[in-house]
C-alpha cells in the first residue's frame, strides 16, 4: 500500500480473493470498480439464481453450492476469482481456502474493517434492499471477534481497508506475476538432469554443449566461475545439484555463478531442499548422500554457506517458460499444476506423485503421472534415475543416473536432442538396480505405453485438428460404428498409421449414352485452374495399404510391434487382407525383396515404407459380395430371361398381340444380363499361388521421417514404376497419362485412352492434379482425385439394365457434394495420421485420426458414388 490518498493493492495474477466485511460495507461496489464482471462471483446473485430472490436466506445452502461450483470451475481454468460474500465467519473462509488449495491457487483476502456506524448509515441509504440494523450489528460484532486470528487462516496475502476514505483511496489492483511464470524466457535451453555433485561430468557436458567455463576469482555475485554459453542459449538445471557425488560444493558454485549471471535457470530438487533445511539449522538425518555433501562443505566460509542457503531458498518449485510451451520441474508436474502455487505443487515438484506405499527396494511407490499426461507443454524432469532418457506423452525424464555410474544427460530445447556424457565412475550404489526391468525390453517407453489405447481418447464426439483442413468434427453417431469395426475387425492399431479416403466420381456426363465421361473429370480441375493432371488407369481390385519393413527388428523399432512379422496388408477399413498367415508372410516377403532389390530402402534412407495400393483380383477379398450379390443376380436372371423370351415368342407365334416394345425390352434385358456377367467376371480369377495376385502401388505414403504429399503424382507413378520392375510377376506399375488442361489435343488423347481401356472392360481411370495436394482459392484444397468409371463397369454398380434410356435419365440426377466433402475430410485425416506417425507422436494421436476416417465413412452417402 502506498499513501493514504492513493492506494494500490497488490495481488497475485492468479488467486482467489475473499472480500471480507459486513453487509453494506461496500464490497460489491468495490469489486465492480476494480475487477472485471466475470471475475466477481456474488453470493447474493447465486441466491437469486436458485430462488429468484437475492435476499432469500432459506436458499443460502443451495446458493453456496452454486457459488463454490462456479469458483471451482474458474480456478480449474486458471482464472482469478473474487468472492463477493460477507465471509465474516471463519468456517466460511476455511471452505474457500480449501477450494483454492484444491486447485493450487493462492487464497487472498481484502478486509473491509469499517465501523458499524458506517455500515448502518450505508444500509439506510440503500435503495435495492435494506437489512435489519440488528443483522449488521451482529455481523459487525462477529467480525471483530473472528478477525483477530485471520493471519493464521492460510490467506497468503491480506489487505485491510479500515475506513471509507481508504476504500475510496484504492485506485487500482496490481496483479503480480507468479514466481514460476517465466513465459517470456524463450530459450533456447540446454536442460540438464540430476548432477548430484558430479562436477567433472557437468563441465564435460557443458563443453560438449558449446559452453566455455572459466575459473575466475570469486566475488559477491560470482562464486568462482564465468560461463559463456553458445549464442543465445541458457542452461536449465532440473534440480538435485548436490549429494552422493564427489564435488557437490563445486557444482553449487558453478550453478550459483550461472544463475546469478543469468546464464542458467534452476529449479530445486529434494536433495537441494534437504541441504537447505540442514543449513537453516533444522534437524535433518545425514543420509542418502547428504552426509558426503556436509563433509565436503566442511571448511567453507560462513559467507558461502549463507549464500548457498539464500540461493536454495529462492529457487521456485517449477518454471513455466517459452510462452507456456516448456515446463521444468525436478520430479515432473501434472498439467493441472502447471503455473500454480501450493504446498501440494511444491511437494509434487520435489518428490513426484507417490501413493504412500513402499516397494521391495524400500523406495516410495510412484504413480506414473507421465502416463496420464495429455498436456500441450513439454515437461522435462529428473529425480528418478532411468537407463535411457525416453519420451512419454511429451514428457521426458533426463536423470540418467550419472552418480550411479550412468550418464549425465542434457536435452537441447527446442531441438529435442539429447546430449550425454558417461559417468567417470560409479560414485554411489542405487537402492534399486538401474537396469531394473529394462534389460530385455525392446520397445521404448511410449511404444510400451501405447500397447493399450484408452477408449475415452478415441470415442464420442471429437474434434481432430489437422494441418491440411483445420478442425474436423467427428460426430458421436459416427464414432459409434467406427468403434465397433475397429474393435471387432481391425488389426493391431500400431499398424494402422493410415486409412485411405473415399473418392468421388466426376460430375454426370451430358452425353446421352454415358453416365460418367472423362471430359467432366478433366473439366473439374481445368475449371479450378489446374494446369496439369495425371490420369491413372483404375485397377479393379481392392484397396490395400501395405506396410513393409526390412525385417522384424525394424518393425519393432519403428512401429513398436513384436512377433507380427515384417509388415501387414490391410483393407480400407483396417481389416487384415489375408486370413492365411502363410500367404501373407510370403506376399510381404516378396514385396520386401523387390524393394531391397531395387535399392528402395537405401534411396529413401528408411527401414520401412507405407504404400497405398490396389490388390487384385477383386474376387480375392470381395468373394462374399461377388457370390451373394453379383453372381447371384446373374444366376437368377440368366435362369429366367431366356424362358421369358421363349414364352413371349410362342405367344406371339400363336397370334397373341405381344406389345413390340415389351418384347424388345426383354430381349435387351437378356443381352444386358450377359454383358453384366462379363463385366464382373473380368475382375475375377482364382488365386492358387502368389503369382495369381497383382499388387499395384500408386502412392508412396511415408518412410522414416517423411510423408510424400509434397511430391507430384507423376513422381509417385515414376518412382513406383522403378521399383516394381524388380518383381513383375507380383507387382505392377500403373499406366498413366499426363494431361495439359489447356491443350485440347492432350485432353482428347486422355479421353481416347479412357474409351479404349473401358472398351476392353477396364474399370476406368482416376484423374488427379499434378500436385498431390492442390490448394483451392479458399485456403483449402481440391479433390485429391476424381474417378471416372467405364460404361460396362457401371453395370455392376447401377445394375445390369442401368443404360436403358429411361433408367439412365433418372440415374443422372445424383449429388456429389457430400461425397466430395467426405473425400476432403478423410484425405486430411489420413495425411494427418501419417504426419503424426513420422513425428513419433503417441499412438492415440495417430489412432484418433484413422479412427476419424473410419467414422466419416459411416456417414450416409449414396454407396454407388
Amino acid at each position: 500500500m502506498t499513501t493514504e490518498n492513493e492506494i494500490r493493492l497488490e495481488l497475485p495474477e492468479l488467486c482467489l480473493v475473499l472480500l471480507i466485511g459486513t453487509s453494506s460495507s461496500g464490497k460489491s461496489t468495490f469489486a465492480k470498480k476494480h475487477f472485471a464482471p466475470y471475475e466477481i462471483v456474488s453470493s447474493d446473485y447465486c441466491r437469486g439464481l436458485v430462488s429468484n430472490d437475492e435476499n432469500n436466506q432459506q436458499a443460502t445452502k443451495d446458493a453456496f453450492d452454486v457459488l463454490h461450483y462456479i469458483i471451482g470451475m474458474r480456478l480449474k481454468n486458471g482464472l482469478l476469482t473474487v468472492v463477493d460474500a460477507t465471509n465474516i465467519q471463519k468456517s466460511d473462509r476455511a471452505k474457500l481456502v480449501a477450494l483454492a488449495r484444491q486447485h493450487h491457487v493462492l487464497p487472498t483476502g481484502i478486509v473491509f474493517e469499517l465501523s458499524e456506524r458506517v455500515a448502518q448509515a450505508r444500509n439506510k441509504k440503500r435503495e435495492d434492499r435494506q437489512m435489519s440494523p440488528n443483522v449488521i450489528r451482529m455481523q459487525s460484532q462477529q467480525m471483530k471477534r473472528d478477525l483477530r486470528k485471520i493471519k493464521y487462516e492460510g490467506l497468503r496475502k491480506l489487505h485491510f481497508l479500515k475506513s471509507e476514505a481508504q476504500v475510496n483511496a484504492v485506485t487500482g489492483i496490481v496483479r503480480e506475476r507468479l514466481y514460476n511464470d517465466r513465459k517470456e524466457e524463450k530459450g533456447p535451453f540446454d536442460i540438464i538432469g540430476d548432477v548430484h555433485g558430479c562436477f567433472d561430468e557437468l563441465i564435460e557436458l557443458l563443453e560438449k554443449l558449446g559452453y566455455t567455463v572459466a575459473e575466475v576469482e570469486a566475488t559477491e555475485q560470482n562464486f568462482g566461475f564465468e560461463v559463456t554459453p553458445p549464442e543465445g542459449r541458457r542452461a536449465f538445471f532440473v534440480g538435485d545439484l548436490v549429494d552422493r557425488g564427489p564435488k557437490s560444493p563445486e557444482v553449487l558454485r558453478l550453478a550459483m555463478s550461472m544463475v546469478n549471471a543469468g546464464t542458467a535457470l534452476c529449479v530445486p530438487g529434494n536433495h537441494d531442499m534437504k541441504l537447505h533445511r540442514y543449513l537453516s539449522g533444522k534437524k535433518v538425518q545425514l543420509k542418502h548422500g547428504l552426509d558426503l555433501t556436509v563433509a565436503q562443505l566442511e571448511g567453507a566460509s560462513p559467507e558461502f554457506l549463507h549464500a548457498v542457503k539464500e540461493f536454495l531458498y529462492r529457487l521456485v518449485s517449477h518454471l513455466v517458460v517459452d510462452e507456456g510451451r516448456l515446463v521444468g520441474a525436478h520430479a515432473g508436474l501434472k498439467e493441472s499444476m502447471h503455473g500454480r502455487a501450493s504446498g501440494a505443487v511444491r511437494s509434487f515438484c520435489l518428490y513426484g506423485e507417490t501413493t504412500g506405499e513402499i516397494d521391495e527396494f524400500g523406495l516410495p511407490v510412484r504413480l506414473s503421472w507421465a502416463e496420464e499426461y495429455r498436456g500441450k507443454a513439454m515437461v522435462v524432469y529428473g529425480h528418478t534415475p532411468v537407463p535411457e532418457a525416453e519420451w512419454l506423452n511429451r514428457t521426458i525424464d533426463i536423470d540418467t543416473g550419472c552418480v550411479f555410474g550412468g550418464k549425465l544427460t542434457a536435452l537441447r530445447y527446442p531441438e529435442a536432442q539429447l546430449v550425454e556424457v558417461a559417468a567417470r565412475k560409479e560414485y554411489a550404489v542405487p537402492a534399486r538396480p538401474l537396469d531394473w526391468e529394462e534389460q530385455q525390453r525392446k520397445l521404448n517407453q511410449q511404444q510400451q505405453y501405447d500397447d493399450v489405447l484408452d477408449l475415452a481418447e478415441v470415442s464420442g464426439k471429437r474434434i481432430v485438428q489437422t494441418r491440411l483442413r483445420h478442425n474436423i468434427t467427428i460426430r458421436e453417431e459416427n464414432s459409434i460404428p467406427a468403434l465397433e469395426i475397429m474393435s471387432r475387425f481391425a488389426v493391431n492399431p500400431k499398424w494402422l498409421v493410415y486409412l485411405p479416403p473415399t473418392m468421388s466420381p466426376c460430375e454426370t456426363s451430358p452425353l446421352p449414352e454415358f453416365l460418367e465421361h472423362p471430359a467432366e473429370a478433366i473439366g473439374y480441375y481445368a475449371a479450378k485452374g489446374v494446369p496439369q493432371l495425371v490420369c491413372e488407369e483404375k485397377h479393379m481390385g481392392s484397396r490395400a495399404v501395405v506396410v513393409v519393413a526390412r525385417n522384424e527388428a525394424a518393425v519393432t523399432e519403428h512401429f513398436g510391434i513384436e512377433g507380427e512379422g515384417i509388415g501387414i496388408c490391410y483393407t480400407r477399413t483396417g481389416r487384415n487382407f489375408f486370413t492365411d498367415r502363410e500367404l501373407e508372410t510370403a506376399f510381404l516377403t516378396r514385396v520386401r525383396d523387390a524393394l531391397e532389390a531395387s535399392g528402395f530402402f537405401e534411396t529413401f534412407e528408411t527401414e520401412w515404407v507405407v504404400l497405398d495400393c490396389e490388390l487384385m483380383p477383386w474376387s480375392l477379398k470381395a468373394q462374399a459380395l461377388l457370390k451373394d450379390q453379383y453372381a447371384s443376380v446373374g444366376a437368377a436372371a440368366s435362369a429366367v430371361l431366356p424362358e421369358v423370351n421363349a414364352l413371349l415368342a410362342t405367344s406371339a407365334a400363336r397370334g397373341v398381340e405381344v406389345p413390340a416394345e415389351l418384347a424388345t425390352a426383354f430381349q435387351q434385358r437378356e443381352s444386358k444380363m450377359q454383358q453384366y456377367r462379363a463385366a464382373y467376371r473380368h475382375y475375377c480369377w482364382p488365386v492358387a499361388q502368389l503369382d495369381d495376385l497383382k499388387l499395384a502401388p500408386f502412392h508412396i505414403l511415408a518412410t522414416e521421417g517423411k510423408v510424400y504429399h509434397d511430391q507430384t503424382n507423376q513422381w509417385h507413378m515414376d518412382t513406383i514404376a522403378g521399383f516394381v520392375k524388380a518383381d513383375p510377376a507380383l507387382l505392377m506399375a500403373t499406366p498413366y497419362k499426363v494431361v495439359d488442361t489447356a491443350d485440347p489435343k492432350s485432353v482428347q488423347a486422355a479421353i481416347d485412352w479412357w474409351l479404349e481401356m473401358t472398351g476392353k472392360g477396364g474399370e476406368g481411370m482416376v484423374v488427379k492434379p499434378m500436385n498431390f495436394v492442390h490448394p483451392d482459392t479458399k485456403g483449402g484444397f481440391l479433390q485429391p482425385a476424381v474417378k471416372c468409371r467405364g460404361k460396362e463397369y457401371l453395370r455392376i454398380i447401377y445394375g445390369p439394365e442401368y443404360d436403358f434410356d429411361h433408367h439412365l435419365k433418372r440415374l443422372k440426377g445424383r449429388h456429389l457434394k457430400h461425397k466430395r466433402s467426405m473425400a476432403i475430410r478423410e484425405f486430411a485425416l489420413g495425411m494427418e495420421a501419417l504426419e503424426r506417425f513420422i513425428r513419433k507422436e503417441p499412438l492415440r494421436r495417430i489412432h484418433e485420426s484413422v479412427f476419424g476416417v473410419l467414422a466419416l465413412e459411416s456417414e450416409e452417402v449414396d454407396p454407388r458414388l
Binding site: 475415452a456 459409434i480 474393435s487 447371384s632 437368377a636 405367344s651 467376371r681 454398380i797 445390369p800 440415374l811
Partner: protein, 479 residues
C-alpha cells in the same frame, strides 16, 4: 419374374374363365414398382398355359426405399435380384392379377370353382434360404403336391463358387384353383428372406384369412407364420396366440409339459450363464461387470440376485445394446433399478476407466471373437487396468466339436470365431495371464461333460492374489 400355370383339364381353356383372363389377349396390371403381364403361350383343348410375367423397375425400387432406415443390403442396391426372382412381389402380383379366382369366384362357370383340377405350376428363380430344398418340400408336400426341384449354379465359369440359392420349382397337384393360388400366395414369400415391405398387424390378419384351415393343419404352420412375418417375434406371438385361440376352441385339452422336461430343455447357453452367476455369487461380489453383454441374457439373471447392487453391461455393438435395453424393458425401470443397471458402449481392446472399481467381471463366450494377437491388449484391459477381484471367463472347448455331428471337421462353431481352444490351450493361456497379472485361475467344464472330450464349453474363474492372501490371513486354518 415368371410364373406359369397349366392344366390338362378338358377343356383346358376353362382356365381362362377361372382366372377371368382371356387366353387370346395380352393383359397388364400395375404394381407399386412396375407391372404384371398376363398372357397364354398355349391355349388348346388339351392344354392351357398361362404366364404371369413381372416387370419390376429396379431404380424405382431403390429410390422408394431409400428413406427407410433399415434397408437391407439387397434392397439398397441397384444390383438387385428382385426383378428376376419369384418373391413377395410375385405374391402381390398373383393377388392383383387373379384376385377373383383367389377369392373362389367364377361368374361364368361357378361349378368349376370347387372342382379339383390337374395343375402344373412352374416357378423360375425361386430364392430359398439355407436348407432351401428341404424347406420347399416341407412346405408343399404336406399339401399334396409333387415337387420337382432344380438348383441353379452361381456362375458356370467359376465352378468353385458352387450353387446359387435359386431353384426352378415345378409343382403338380390336382386341387381347386383358388386353393392352389392361396398356397402360392402365402408360401412364396415364406421362402423369401428379402421381403420388400414391412410386417404389420394387418399382415397377421391377411395371413390367417388367406391361410384358413389348411394353414392351421399344416405341420410347418409355426415356421410358415414365423417366416412370413419376418421373424418379428412380438407380431408372431400375436398371430400364434390367435391361432392357438382358434385351436383351443376346437380342442380344449392340451397336456401340460411336466416341469422336469422343461428343466432339461435349458440350453447350453443357459447352463453357461447359470454357472457364471453361481461363480459370481460365490466370489462375494456386489458390483459386477458383464463384458460383451450382448442382448442381456446374463444381465437379466444378475438383476434377479439381490447380492449384485451395481451391474454394468458393456458391448461393442450399439445396436445390440439397444436391443438389450428393449429386452430388459429398461425404459420402464424404477429409479432404483436404473441405479443398479447401466449399459455402456465400449470395446475390450481399449482401456476404459468406466470399468475400474468393480468387484467382478463376467466375460462369457467373448474372447474367441477377438483376433488372437489382440488378446494381449484384452488381457491388459481386463486384468491390469479394470482389475476386478474376480473374473469369470468362458470360451468354447474345441475338443468337443467332434460331438457336433453337423459341424465339419476343423470348422469353428460360429463364422465370427477367430479361434477355438482345447482345454489344454485354454489352461495354458489362463495360467500365463494369472502369472503375469497376479491372479489364480480355476477351471471347470460347462455343459454336460463328455468323458473323452470334456464339456462343450469351458470356464476359468480368476481370483486376484491379494484377495486370496487376505482370505488366508482371515482364516489361516482353512485349507
Amino acid at each position: 419374374m415368371l410364373l406359369t400355370l397349366q392344366t390338362t383339364h378338358r377343356p383346358a381353356t376353362d382356365l381362362g374363365y377361372l382366372l377371368h383372363k382371356h387366353p387370346g389377349r395380352f393383359q397388364s396390371v400395375d404394381l407399386s414398382h412396375g407391372k404384371a403381364h398376363i398372357f397364354y403361350p398355349e391355349a388348346s383343348e388339351s392344354r392351357c398355359k398361362v404366364a404371369l410375367l413381372l416387370e419390376i423397375d429396379p431404380i424405382a425400387l431403390v429410390r422408394n426405399t431409400r428413406n427407410q432406415k433399415a434397408v437391407n443390403f439387397s434392397l439398397g442396391q441397384y444390383v438387385n435380384d428382385r426383378p428376376y426372382v419369384a418373391s413377395s412381389f410375385m405374391s402381390v402380383a398373383l393377388s392383383k392379377a387373379f384376385n377373383t379366382a383367389m377369392n373362389a369366384k367364377c361368374k361364368d362357370k361357378p361349378a368349376l370353382v370347387a372342382q379339383a383340377l390337374p395343375f402344373e405350376v412352374e416357378l423360375h428363380s425361386l430364392p430359398a434360404p439355407k436348407g432351401g430344398e428341404v424347406l420347399i418340400r416341407k412346405l408343399f408336400e404336406p399339401l399334396g403336391y409333387t415337387v420337382e426341384l432344380e438348383r441353379q449354379p452361381l456362375d458356370a465359369q467359376f465352378e468353385t463358387w458352387g450353387m446359387s440359392k435359386y431353384f426352378r420349382l415345378v409343382l403338380r397337384h390336382t386341387l381347386p384353383l383358388h386353393l392352389l393360388l392361396t398356397h402360392l400366395y402365402v408360401l412364396i414369400p415364406v421362402l423369401d428372406n428379402d421381403k420388400h415391405y414391412y410386417v404389420s398387424k394387418d399382415e397377421i390378419d391377411k395371413l390367417i384369412e388367406r391361410g384358413g384351415t389348411w394353414l392351421q393343419e399344416h405341420p410347418e404352420r409355426e415356421q410358415i407364420t414365423q417366416r412370413y412375418l419376418l421373424h418379428l417375434k412380438s407380431l408372431t406371438r400375436n398371430a400364434m396366440d390367435r391361432m392357438l385361440e382358434q385351436e383351443a376352441d376346437a380342442e380344449n385339452d392340451g397336456p401340460e409339459e411336466p416341469e422336469e422336461m422343461k428343466a432339461r430343455k435349458v440350453s447350453l447357453h443357459q447352463q453357461r450363464l447359470k454357472q457364471a452367476v453361481k461363480a459370481l455369487k460365490a466370489s462375494g461380489a456386489s458390483r459386477v461387470l458383464d463384458l460383451g453383454c450382448g442382448e442381456g441374457k446374463l444381465l437379466r439373471l444378475l438383476l434377479r440376485e439381490r447380492q449384485f447392487r451395481e451391474i454394468c453391461g458393456m458391448d461393442a455393438s450399439f445396436k445390440t445394446l439397444q436391443n438389450a435395453r428393449k429386452r430388459l424393458y429398461m425404459d420402464e425401470f424404477s429409479p432404483r433399478q436404473n441405479e443398479r443397471l447401466k449399459l455402456i458402449h465400449g470395446a475390450l481392446t481399449y482401456r476404459d476407466k468406466r470399468l475400474e472399481g468393480y468387484d467382478a467381471a463376467a466375460i462369457i463366450e467373448v474372447i474367441e471373437h477377438l483376433d488372437e494377437n489382440r488378446l494381449q491388449a484384452f488381457s491388459r484391459v481386463v486384468f491390469e487396468f479394470a482389475r476386478p477381484e474376480t473374473v469369470v471367463l468362458t470360451t468354447p472347448n474345441a475338443e468337443y466339436n467332434v460331438r457336433f455331428e453337423t459341424l465339419p471337421a476343423g470348422a469353428f462353431r460360429h463364422p465370427d470365431h477367430r479361434f477355438e481352444w482345447t482345454r489344454q490351450e485354454f489352461e495354458t493361456w489362463a495360467r500365463a495371464i494369472g502369472d503375469k497379472f497376479g491372479y489364480r485361475p480355476e477351471f471347470s467344464p460347462v455343459g454336460e461333460e463328455d468323458p473323452e472330450v470334456g464339456g462343450p464349453s469351458q470356464m476359468a474363474v480368476f481370483t486376484r492374489n491379494d484377495v486370496l492372501n487376505q482370505e488366508s490371513e482371515i482364516d489361516p486354518d482353512d485349507n
